[in-house]
Structures are given as C-alpha cells and as structure tokens.
Symmetry: C2
C-alpha cells in the first residue's frame, strides 16, 4: 500500500481529533489560554539515513525534524520524547553517537526530554515526539490574499548535498562543506517560529520541498500563490551543482526537502517588524494553485528520503 492510502485508511477510523483537525505540521489542543502543540515523526535508518551520516547527526536530525514542526506552528518547544527500535547489529558506539546527537540537539533547542523507550526491532528506528506551546497558532490555512510569501534562510543546499553524495561529484571542499552542513546537519528555525507566531498569518516548514509545501498552503488556505523565481534565496553552491549536473537550480531549490526553513505569509506592512533573515519570494492572491513566474508550478517533491505526516 502507498503511504497516502494508509493515511486515508486511518483517517476514516480516527474521528476523535484535537481542536485543530489533522493535516497541519502538528496537532494542537487548547490548554487554558494557550495551545499545546504536539507532533511526531519516525526516522527509519533504511529509508531516511544516507550512509555518510554519522550517528550523532542521525540523533540530532531526529530531534530537528520534530522541533521544526513545532516551530512551524509558531510554538516554543517545551519537551521531547523518543522511542528507539534497536536491531541486534547496531553496536554500542553507534548508539552512543545517537545518544550524544539527541543530547546535543536538546541543549541546542533548550528542550528537556520527558520520556524515552527502547525496544528490539529489525531496523534502527527513532520515533521522535516534540511538544510546544504558543498563545497564537500558525497553521497552513491562514494565508489571505494580499499577503507576502516569505521564506527563512536559503533553499536547495539539502538536495544539492544529496546529489553530490549520490553522484560522487568532484567539487571543492568548501562547497561540499556548505552543502553537507544543510544536507546532514539541518537546524530547525525555532526562534523565527516564535517571533512569527505574533506577526505571520500562516506557516509551514520545508520538509518535502517548497513546491509541495506551497501547494499544501494554497490548497488549505483556499488561495493562489504567485512565486518569482528571481527572488528565491539560492546560494551559489547550488548553482554550481546544478551546472555540473545539467539541472535547473530553481527546480533544485523548489524540490529540496528536509531544509527545515519556514515558509510563511505576512501582511506587507508587518513584514518590516521581522528582524531575522528572510526573503520575500511571492505573494498571496485570490484563486487557487501555485504559479512560478506566471506558469503553473508542478508538484515537485523530494521523494528520496520521504516520509508522510498526516
């Protein structure tokens, strides 16, 4: 069965949902004046971990991918939980590396571990869970015509790094370092998410590529999104890899997943209140669909190390 079929199957039987229906970066329930946000994401070594990733990077990423979903809801992470599935062939050194990576990530994100569980399994599995709180929730359905579409940081390095590794590309050490930093050690945009919770009207994190995230945002908000390729924040290292492989750098940037940048929409007059690094990449309009320089944008996505969240 395809993952989307499995999701449909479960949704049919899960009638009791939180105060925010399933389908956002995280679930949410009201707790007094605040929203409690909760999300989980399972990392499976066979499908999610390229072989050059160190165990420490694996542990760090298991935290980042969950904290990023909390950040995308505009929430401050308040706790992390994880379950480990450990196969017999994974030794002490590898596990200690994973432990060190999780520990480092929790200190990096100022987040305590609340509970953990370990079991025998056939493959190394880290199921991470992050909890967060926010006074104002950012969802995928809050974008309104007239707003700017913005993105933190830059896009494309994760996929470019993956392509360098997969194709054993001969590139300079400096370029490789810049790409691998994003490919192997991505960071969630926590402080940006907290600031956005007061100012933005919708947000989503880039887990499966900007094109896919914007399609979700447009569909769930019931709006049309116009993107300008010239305004996409693409670093020169991505252009270099694109050229080596005869690919379009814009396509790389739009389909690069696990970037963990935040895409958000904000009223133009409020954008100037944001004091972190971001780029305006488009605007929200009436209608439906996502358009790049006026043309419909295909559903590009990063299938290689994909996973579904519903």
């Amino acid at each position: 069965m395809r993952e989307s079929e499995i999701i449909d199957l479960f949704l049919k039987h899960l009638r009791k949902q939180g105060d925010l229906p399933l389908g956002d970066d995280a679930g949410a329930i009201r707790l007094g004046d605040e929203w409690l946000v909760a999300t989980n994401d399972m990392l499976v070594r066979k499908t999610d971990v390229p072989d050059i990733m160190t165990p420490e990077q694996v542990g760090f990423k298991a935290v980042t991918m969950n904290v990023s979903d909390v950040a995308a809801m505009g929430a401050m992470p308040i706790g992390f939980l994880f379950s480990l599935g450990v196969p017999p062939d994974v030794g002490r050194d590898y596990l200690e590396g994973v432990a060190r990576g999780i520990g480092k990530a929790l200190e990096f994100y100022y987040t305590p571990v609340l509970s953990a569980d370990t079991n025998e399994a056939d493959d190394l599995i880290i199921d991470g869970i992050a909890l967060g709180v926010t006074g104002r929730l950012l969802t995928r359905s809050g974008a309104r015509p007239g707003e700017l579409v913005c993105v933190t940081g830059d896009l494309g390095r994760a996929l470019a790094g993956y392509l360098v590794w997969k194709n054993k590309l001969d590139i300079s050490k400096k370029v490789r370092k810049a790409l691998y930093e994003k490919f192997l050690e991505p960071k969630a945009k926590v402080s940006e998410g907290i600031k956005l919770s007061e100012i933005a009207n919708s947000a989503i994190d880039v887990s499966d590529g900007l094109a896919r995230e914007l399609n979700l945002l447009a569909r769930r908000s019931g709006v049309r999104i116009e993107l300008s390729s010239e305004s996409l924040p693409i670093r020169e290292e991505v252009f270099e890899v694109a050229e080596l492989l005869g690919k379009d750098p814009v396509e790389l940037a739009l389909s690069s997943g696990e970037e963990f940048e935040l895409v958000f929409t904000v009223e133009p007059e409020k954008a100037s209140c944001l004091e972190f690094d971001f780029s305006v990449v488009g605007k929200v309009e009436k209608g439906s669909g996502v358009y790049l320089d006026g043309e419909p944008l295909p559903h590009l996505g990063w299938e290689h190390f994909s996973h579904e969240n519903f």
Copy 2:
C-alpha cells in the same frame, strides 16, 4: 546490548530533563497551575504481539499501554499521537483492523488523536504517545510509612491467558474467555487514576508484574513494602491454570505483566474515600525492599513480551 545498558547509555547523554526526572511512568512538566504528563511506548509486532491477537486488539493495546502510564500519574488523557512502521507484507485488511482498534480505543478513553505519521519499516511498529494533565502528580517516589498498598481490579489473568495460549491448555470456554479478555484486551484504569490523583500519594501501573512494580516503588520512595499473599486479588480462573501447570498462583499473580491495573499507596483514613473496586494488599513501612508474608520477594517479572521504559 541489553536494554538496561542502552538506557544507561542514553541517560548519560540526556542531561536536560523535564520538571520530573526520567524514571517514572511518564515525564512531566509544569504548565501554569497544572502538570503536563507525556509518555511513549513502542509496540513491535515481533516481540509484543502474540499471533492470536487480532489487528483490532493490537491497535487498541497500543493506545491502552500509553494511556495507562498517564493514568498512573493521576492524569486525565488529553491527546494521543502515533507513528506507524509498515512492512510490505502487511496488507490493507490488517492495517484497517489496527486503525479500527486505535479509533475504538480513543473513543473508549475520550481522547483525541493529535498527530500521526507513517513510514516503511521491516516490522510492524506502532509507537504510541499519550499526553495528559493533572493538578496533582502521582509518582513512584511518594510512598510513606504507614500507608496502605492497594491495587485496582485483579491480578494474574494476563499471564494465565498467555500460558493457556502458549501451552495450548485444554480449559473451558468460559475460563478462556475470562483470561483472554485480560491477556488480549486489557483496559487502562483512567477514571481510577484521576480519582487517585486527589487522594493517593504514589502510584504505578502494572506493566511488568506487581513484584517488579513494587520493587521500583519501594526503591524510589525509600521505603519497605510488606505484602500479604492472602489479600492479593486473584480470580479462580488463575488458580485453575496454576493447578493445570503445577505453578503457584501467587507467583503467577505477582509476575503477570501488562495487567494495566494501578498499584497505589494511600493513608489508611483516606482509603475509604475511594469508591471504585480495589484491594488492600499490604502496607508501607520504614526500611527497604519488598516482603511477602515476611519473606523477601524475588524480582519476578514478565519477560515474555517485555519492553523497557526509562
């Protein structure tokens, strides 16, 4: 590596913990005037699921084992999350059964699902996460000399049912039904846990057998626990299986895991305030260790379908 070694390895690197250190049924953090309780427990088909269990029972149990940990903290469940690992050989019907079981359990426990995630994996895995809230937290370290040791429901049917199945015992349909009800469809004691939060001073759920839970409780509370074998709530069906197998029914009751009954300690004068079914099985004294009819109790535990929570 043994699970206890893996746990030690991780604890070494996880310095940032919640407001309640790791080692209870669930983790907890303060959220305003309340405690937010969070726990996770991974169910792996290969090690946790006997082959007579229906997929619906598997789904229900994945919820129960987590909700039970929330109940043991005296908290009301407010949300459930899960990650599925799905191997290629698990078909649509099986998954739909699991979905139905999770859905039924969430309705049974009045708990919404907040987030879910699905991935390819080598074995069927359901990692469940339950969240709860309480004004007063019940921990494993709150038992004080002079209190009564009590347990909800009855003990031993889960292990007796397992032994009936494993040894293909020839018993009456009625006895089998009574045992399998607890072996295959255990229920968490949610309303009892909520009532206990106001009255009891410590609690733990019976995941790995009463003997093991009481040893944990005694050690973490720094007390001695005296048990009386005559007062243990053991149903006649357990006596019947014990006799067929030439085993001691008290030993069965003490080592039977995944019972999901709540063990708690309470001041004698407050025990009468509790209006649900429970048995006084012993008392808390100064000292250390657990004693049964005056003799030290060995560390009996249910190893068959074991999993470690830390």
